[in-house]
């Protein structure tokens, strides 16, 4: 794979996010389906997920650093990051607006919290996917 350290780092972030946070949303969906509405019950699962994700990220980056010599990001890496971020922010904004709408409609807090969290997650996934597209396809 002819990829820089930065591109490999994006792959690690994407895979860890999809696996760990994707797992969290699956568990949260099951809990919501069973009628669990207390947010602290979700907070515990979420905390475990975040710790797990940090561990996966660290392990992934250490493995890549051993295989590929790490380097500072250059102008292309930064431009790709900025462009991907500017093209994925709309997802988070949409989620925030949907969350506000949910508050107006008096939806349960657990739904609003997860709507906001899901939009943050999807926006981050879209950003990482766009970064990989720009690395491979060019811009």
């Amino acid at each position: 794979m002819n990829a820089s350290f930065e591109e490999r780092s994006v792959w690690i972030q994407l895979v860890s996010m999809l696996l760990v946070l994707g797992g969290y949303f699956y568990v949260a969906w099951q809990m919501m389906s069973q009628g669990v509405t207390a947010l602290p019950a979700y907070a515990a699962v979420f905390t475990v997920s975040v710790i797990l994700m940090v561990l996966v990220l660290v392990a992934g980056h250490v493995a890549v650093a051993i295989a590929t010599r790490p380097h500072d990001s250059d102008e292309r890496d930064r431009l790709i990051g900025w462009r991907a971020e500017s093209n994925s922010g709309w997802l988070l904004a949409t989620g925030v607006l949907a969350g506000i709408t949910g508050m107006v409609l008096s939806l349960p807090n657990v739904w609003i919290a997860h709507l906001l969290l899901l939009s943050l997650f999807l926006s981050e996934v879209l950003k990482l996917v766009l970064q990989l597209v720009y690395y491979r396809r060019g811009m």
Partner: protein, 73 residues
């Protein structure tokens, strides 16, 4: 795919400068080898600063290294 309108002679110039590798050029310019590769392949248009630095490495004027629009037209 060649999304940029900027073409270049970097590959030829590297060859005529002692078969300089992309890694060697990248180290002298201060970017990654993958970025030099992307510039050569026309997948990325470098900043003016990097373009001038590349031209300086080959001791050529900028327009002998980079051309605008010639490849796409």
């Amino acid at each position: 795919m060649k999304p940029t309108k900027v073409s270049n002679q970097i590959r030829t110039l590297r060859f005529h400068h002692g078969e300089m590798t992309q890694q060697q050029l990248a180290a002298r310019v201060g970017v990654t080898r993958q970025t030099v590769n992307a510039i050569e392949a026309g997948k990325y248009s470098p900043s003016l600063e990097v373009a001038f630095l590349i031209a300086r490495v080959f001791d050529k004027p900028l327009e002998e290294v980079f051309q605008f629009g010639t490849a796409a037209e």
